[in-house]
Homo-oligomer: 300 residues x 2
């Protein structure tokens, strides 16, 4: 357990131009800044990235732009899970061919009440199609997907694909579930979705955090991770929790984008695609407070 790397991956926001097309320049510039500010890597096309509002073609082009700008594929875990297996296979094969560290894969999520066997088959179908180089981080976010990644499912997948299944992101917000996954499957990297849980995650043998707030507060969250054993650990935890708490009271994705826009002093970053709506001016003070608490995030 002591040899496990503890890391922070940012589900980096996807900027959109005024015609709602993907703004590749701002996407790349912001992504590089997040790495410079202390994130170990990026999980582009996660939930916070509005991935599910972004087409397969757009995702592939944007991923290529990140790598083309000099970001190492070893720092990238793009989201690839779609409803239709054909799309998940296309995205996962593309990311694998580019040498990405792995892919963060939602289960197919339209149909609810499906069995573990059915979800196993869905993952197996993709793994078999993409081939032996694929590395899958399972994505448990039942409040959005409606399709949980159960312990039974993980066990089945690891038995069948011990090399392909390498990690899990637990966005359930239920620490007991994360602890169960870490305890039962120490061979995979398990990430929390909240930086507030970093102390518990690391102490239990987890691999770190993939959190929306990393878009706004990468330095603070990195400082907490680096200072876990130091004298300031409580103050560092208070800082990340204070920032996080503001976002938890707002529509999360529009609020994160509004804060990034304020950090860059560039309102273009704030724009969202439907079904989200841009954050209203009534929340400007809360965003300013979050940005103040986060502090400067050089090079922004």
């Amino acid at each position: 357990m002591t040899a496990r790397k503890i890391e922070l991956f940012v589900p980096v926001i996807t900027p959109f131009a005024s015609d709602l097309s993907l703004d590749t320049d701002r996407f790349v510039t912001n992504a590089k800044a997040l790495l410079a500010a202390g994130a170990h890597g990026l999980a582009p096309f996660g939930t916070t990235s509005e991935a599910n509002s972004v087409s397969v073609a757009e995702r592939m082009a944007a991923l290529e732009a990140l790598i083309g700008a000099g970001i190492s594929p070893s720092q990238l875990i793009p989201g690839t899970g779609c409803c239709a297996a054909a799309d998940t296979i296309t995205l996962s094969a593309h990311a694998t061919k580019l040498g990405c560290r792995g892919v963060l894969m939602l289960p197919p999520f339209f149909y609810k009440g499906v069995s573990d066997e059915g979800v196993f088959n869905a993952y197996a179908q993709v793994i078999d199609a993409v081939g032996p180089d694929l590395r899958v981080y399972l994505y448990h976010i039942p409040q959005m997907s409606g399709v949980p990644i159960t312990l039974n499912l993980i066990e089945r997948l690891l038995a069948a694909y011990p090399n392909a299944i390498v990690g899990l992101k637990d966005s359930s917000g239920n620490w007991e579930n994360t602890a169960s996954v870490i305890a039962a499957f120490p061979q995979i990297d398990t990430y929390s979705a909240s930086e507030s849980l970093i102390p518990e995650n690391v102490a239990a043998g987890g691999a770190g955090c993939i959190s929306a707030s990393l878009n706004v507060n990468p330095k603070g969250i990195r400082a907490l991770l680096d200072g876990l054993s130091g004298p300031d650990h409580k103050a560092l935890h208070d800082q990340v929790s204070a920032v996080r708490k503001i976002f938890e009271s707002l529509p999360l994705i529009p609020a994160i984008k509004a804060a990034v826009a304020q950090q860059w002093a560039d309102p273009e970053f704030a724009r969202v695609r439907p079904p989200f709506v841009d954050l209203g001016p009534e929340h400007a003070d809360a965003i300013s407070e979050a940005v103040r608490l986060a502090g400067p995030q050089t090079p922004r």
Copy 2:
């Protein structure tokens, strides 16, 4: 209200070959048989069609195959709603160009807890992109989508797009909701998702039914619709309810496909894509009973 056409549209199953590719021949043969058996039209790529497990390219090719086989586009309301607007626009523009009667459009369904304003913007984005020939049937299926089509949303859409919004399918199973939609918006065609509700739907001024069981029991359901004012209406209703009740106790989509396979005496029809699993042999008796109760569905 008396001038409204009352019709039955089948969310026709999508047959898959042993490699899980779309079996176009069986798809077309079965679709034509359903129309011959009494359905007024088809809603291919609905929920029962496993639409969300079928790619954009597959859906377009299969729709073209139906029309190429002589089915009138005026009888077709394909499902086109995806998570990413680009996909919804591609499918909706394609169906519109082919002359389809309209499209059955899910809202974007990954993100939950979104506002009516956000969902309005999502529909508006598609309607604006496809242009004035698009005809939209809104698809309310909150138990799967997690994103309801509220009365407030319908009102806003009708105010902005009085020509584009032409109907709604209510799959909520909540008759009070259907009744509210019919009462509030008599200018659109409102379909129930259960044939058991046909008497209520027609009496209230609705437009009929788009139901999974139409795949198995088109003759019985058509007989109920045609016999609503006749002396046998209770017996006809009992028949459709008895068939439906069997499916309600089973995994719906695998069970519907298993029954269609039995009706055609062709097990190929039974195969499902993940995340569904083929219906187990323990349910064979229930399926036989449903098929017996439905009776012969010539030309099957």
